[in-house]
Amino acid sequence: YISPFTGKVPFIHVGNQVVSELGPIVQFVKAKGHSLSDGLDEVQKAEMKAYMELVNNMLLTAELYLQWCDDVTVEEITHPRYGSPYPWPLNRILSYRKQWEVRRKMKAIGWGGKTLEQVLEDVDQCCQALSQRLGTQPYFFNKQPTELDALVFGHLFTILTTQLITDELSEKVKNYSNLTAFCRRIEQQYFEGHDKDSSTIAARSAKRSLLR
């Protein structure tokens, strides 16, 4: 789903309010009295925010790069997928426009000149940092999950379970066993048992096999 308000995911629908994107959702939930990071001290909160920016900076940008700047992926996966809800020629027009927008943004932040290898190198560096920070703990700030865990899970799970032309991106993540174990653990704890629909279960088994 895409939020009708800003056009961005994720979003939550509470009563007659729609709140989209991670930052505003976290603040909204906090205003209602729930916060995952209440148990952290000031220095840990600063660290958490820094790691969230690292994930946004590296992983999100790398995902966008792969989807929109790698010609092979763009042609075979992204254009068909992005344009699928629309009839021809709208599907091609909208996806070319999106591609142009993303490439402009990449150029503005200095990723325009990067090759795929350099992007994968950056992803590897980011995963290494996350892996070192996680260590042998169950969550990034030891026993309790925080917003950082949610963000990292969201990105890593997507990378691990989305099928692309090559497996290079997901291989980078799989190099770090504590990260894959982290994803599996969260999936089992929070997402299993909620869906009884058999087709979803089949999809999940397919995804699980990709995780291994």
């Binding site: 909160k45 600063a46 820094a50 920016e53 900076n57 402009r104």
Partner: protein, 261 residues
């Protein structure tokens, strides 16, 4: 393109490449860091680039008053003709482009809203850095590392350059540990670069204040002594008293005159 490293025949720009080059030459400020501290370094650098850099770019290149009165003349004076006519404008446009593309999506539609958001983010980032630094001298203990260099690189321009519109600088000055961090690095590593601008004037004013305090103390000692003398020998002619006072006034001289209206 700055920063630039010129070593023998090599000219290298961009921080990441410079760091790689130095590491190959066996210079590494992060040698003593643990793996987790290395990871923290990457995370905090990402925080700086995402949250502080847009506001920094805005203060330097997009705010019209700042750009026209300080940044453009300053850069143009250091670039050769005819590039000085073209390059500052190009850098300004690139900065605006970057901010609008990365921060300008919905629900922020106007430049004013984007500006408000990026300054909010920058102030929060400064607060986070201050909390992380605490009372330590550097971010990872007693010796400087790559992170210290990055943070200094971002903070020093905000701290020291005198712009007409200075909301970031005002916020930074409310965080004394960050100011102390910048001052420490400036005195240890940049002793030679004090020149001309009002930052040097600020130092001079501080030194004057110190001298003044010493002189005032001396004067109060003198007054006490004079008082004692007066009590002991009442026939001291008043002219001598006046001379003494005038002498004290002359010693204080220019700093006091400058401060009193």
């Amino acid at each position: 393109d700055i920063p630039v490293l010129i070593a023998e025949d090599n000219v290298i720009s961009q921080p990441a490449k410079i760091l790689n080059f130095l590491r190959k030459q066996k210079y590494n400020a992060d040698y003593e860091l643990s793996a987790k501290q290395g990871a923290d370094t990457l995370a905090y650098i990402a925080l700086l680039e995402e949250k502080l850099l847009p506001a920094l770019l805005h203060t330097f290149w997009i705010d019209a008053e700042n750009y026209c009165s300080v940044t453009k003349p300053w850069f143009a004076s250091r670039i050769a003709f005819p590039l000085n006519l073209y390059l500052p404008g190009k850098m300004s446009r690139e900065a605006l482009n970057r901010i609008l593309l990365t921060k300008g999506g919905p629900p922020l539609y106007s430049l004013t809203e984007v500006e408000a958001q990026i300054y909010r983010d920058a102030k929060e980032c400064l607060n986070l850095l201050s909390k992380r630094l605490g009372t330590s001298q550097f971010f990872f203990g007693d010796t400087p590392t790559t992170l210290d260099a990055f943070v200094f690189g971002f903070l020093a321009p905000i701290y020291k350059v005198c712009f007409p519109r200075v909301q970031l600088q005002k916020h930074l000055k409310q965080l004394p540990n960050l100011c102390r961090f910048c001052d420490d690095i400036l005195t240890c590593y940049f002793r030679l670069s004090v020149s001309g601008h009002s930052p040097a004037g600020q130092d001079r004013a501080d030194a004057n204040l110190q001298k003044l305090t010493q002189l005032v103390n001396k004067e109060s000692n003198l007054i006490e002594k004079m008082d004692d003398n007066l009590r002991k020998s009442p026939q001291h002619p008043p002219s001598k008293l006046t001379t003494l006072k005038l002498a004290a006034g002359g010693e204080e001289g220019s700093p006091l005159n400058r401060l009193s209206p």
